[in-house]
């Protein structure tokens, strides 16, 4: 039911963990629905220099978290803001229909981390 890419990212997730002094942190989901994603970013000169994630959830939740970290590492925050949940799913060669809305929130978590970074910059 999952693509090979999903299974690869589930089995060998990239960038798992936390950053010690992140510039931004974003979290989506809740334990009720069974998925929580938390993303930590480091930003330097408008570029995401480091990114880590922690996820409680199903195979799709873990794989999309891993994929989004790979997609944006080294990218500008503007480029990162353009990434959507849909494009993350496409990069994984698709997700089963049932997973598209409940476990495909990694881009949302990333955007929240960027918003958090921007807020901190503004204050």
């Amino acid at each position: 039911m999952y693509s090979e890419k999903v299974m690869d990212h589930f089995t060998n997730p990239r960038n798992v963990g936390e950053l010690e002094n992140p510039d931004g942190v974003g979290e989506v989901g809740n334990p009720t629905c069974g998925d929580i994603m938390k993303i930590y970013i480091s930003v330097k000169d408008g570029i995401i220099t480091d990114i880590k994630f922690k996820t409680f959830g199903c195979g799709a939740a873990i794989a999309t978290s891993s994929m989004v970290t790979e997609m944006v590492k080294g990218k500008t925050i503007e480029e990162a803001m353009k990434i959507t949940n849909k494009s993350v799913a496409e990069a994984l060669d698709g997700l089963p229909p049932a997973k598209m809305h409940c476990s495909n929130l990694a881009a949302d978590a990333l955007h929240k981390a960027i918003e958090d970074y921007r807020k901190k910059q503004a204050s």
Partner: protein, 400 residues
């Protein structure tokens, strides 16, 4: 890679002897049991022998057995047929919150047709409280349906007591015995059942066949119309290969029941104890002793069931979970919620159901592999991280 199948409550492999029996009725004795000639008579003979074997394993008379396409059809027949059979006496029905969907959804259908249904809660072990049942009974209550063994947590209900109350009040009593028939003793008279559902593929028989026991004298309407098969209660040419396979499976189950109960109880206890010793922050779901011999259901905090299943599958271990991701809905299992688990704990549940091919070595292998998998998934979980920095309750309040 070692393959360990721990999902026997989902389905079981067909016993080689059963395969032989089925094969004979596919290739040699393929007649229509309704035909008068020798081909038909041979098929009829096989069919009636199977009926005797299936009946014997539940202490019933063969003429009280109606073969169906499986447990779901039999449950629907019993619940819907039972409700309409007594419609003139009342429209109040009683079941429990933890029934299989084949029963629950039949009751939901009846609610739409104007019946009133009481869904009894269960305690934290998954047991129906007999007092609750007594209190729920009204003058217009006509049908009670309670499962013998729960398919997820393996809890064995006090069916004898419930049946005695139903009998005393003159209320029809149906028992969904899909998870108990052939695995623990089932006797329709001891259980005081008026109707009882059993399924073939849970006891090493083929899929697509089951039966409903209907006590002599109990009449329920039929919703299938056609020929006179199964005394008009379930018309249509009989699934002879499936039914004879079911009969053979019942015959073998009867011979092996006592030994398998002992063996599987020991293996199950070894598995549960082993997990308790090796992995912290778990919860054993279901009653500890009033429990199906082969059932272990455990919640692992901070992780989600589907991830656990995928990881186990990669190690050759097949199990199931009550998480939303595996139930096809947004909510985790209704059974786990009914025993009082929070959504988060319910999402992290793992059901392992043992069967005839499982060995001590299988359990050792699971106990070797599982702790690493749980540790890996926990290390990725933001909930687990929080636990180290704040008290659990505060953590959950924070993430809600």
């Amino acid at each position: 890679m070692r393959k360990v199948y721990l999902d026997h409550s989902a389905t079981t492999p067909v016993h080689p002897e059963v395969v032989k029996t089925i094969n004979h009725y596919l290739t040699e004795a393929w007649g229509n049991p309704s035909s008068i000639h020798s081909f038909g008579r041979e098929a009829r003979k096989g069919l009636e022998e199977a009926r005797e074997k299936v009946a014997a394993l539940m202490g019933a008379n063969p003429e009280e057995i109606v073969f169906t396409s499986g447990g779901t059809e039999a449950d629907n027949m019993a619940v819907i047929g039972g409700a309409y059979a007594r419609e003139k006496d009342g429209k109040h029905l009683i079941t429990s919150q933890i029934e299989h969907h084949a029963v629950l959804d039949a009751f939901k259908y009846l609610e739409k047709q104007g019946f009133e249904v009481t869904y009894l809660p269960v305690d934290e072990d998954g047991l129906v409280r007999v007092e609750d049942l007594r209190n729920a009974i009204r003058d217009d209550t006509t049908l009670i349906s309670i499962m013998h063994v729960n398919n997820e947590i393996g809890t064995i209900q006090p069916i004898e007591e419930i049946g005695a109350i139903a009998r005393e009040k003159g209320i029809l009593f149906h028992v969904d015995a899909v998870q108990s028939y052939g695995k623990i003793p089932v006797d329709v008279n001891k259980l005081n059942a008026d109707m009882l559902t059993a399924s073939s593929h849970k006891i090493y028989g083929p899929k697509g066949v089951g039966c409903l026991y209907i006590r002599k004298g109990v009449r329920i309407p039929s919703y299938t119309h056609g020929g006179g098969q199964e005394k008009k209660r379930r018309p249509g040419t009989e699934n002879v290969p499936g039914i004879v396979g079911f009969g053979k499976a019942a015959e073998i189950a009867a011979q092996e029941l006592e030994g398998e109960m002992k063996r599987l109880t020991a293996l199950r206890d070894k598995l549960i104890k082993g997990i308790e010793e090796r992995i912290p922050e778990i919860r054993v779901n279901g009653h500890r002793t009033k429990r199906l011999p082969g059932n272990a259901n455990i919640s692992f905090r901070y992780i989600e069931g589907e991830s656990l299943l995928l990881s186990l599958d990669m190690k050759g271990i097949a199990a199931s979970s009550g998480s939303a991701c595996t139930s096809g809905s947004l909510d985790p299992s209704h059974v786990l919620l009914a025993i009082g688990l929070s959504h988060e704990i319910a999402h992290g549940s793992l059901r392992m159901t043992l069967g005839r091919d499982n060995t001590e070595e299988d359990i050792d292998y699971v106990l070797e592999v599982l702790p690493e998998i749980v540790e890996r998934l926990r290390s990725m979980s933001p909930l687990y991280q929080r636990k180290e920095t704040c008290k659990q309750k505060e953590c959950y309040a924070h993430v809600q």
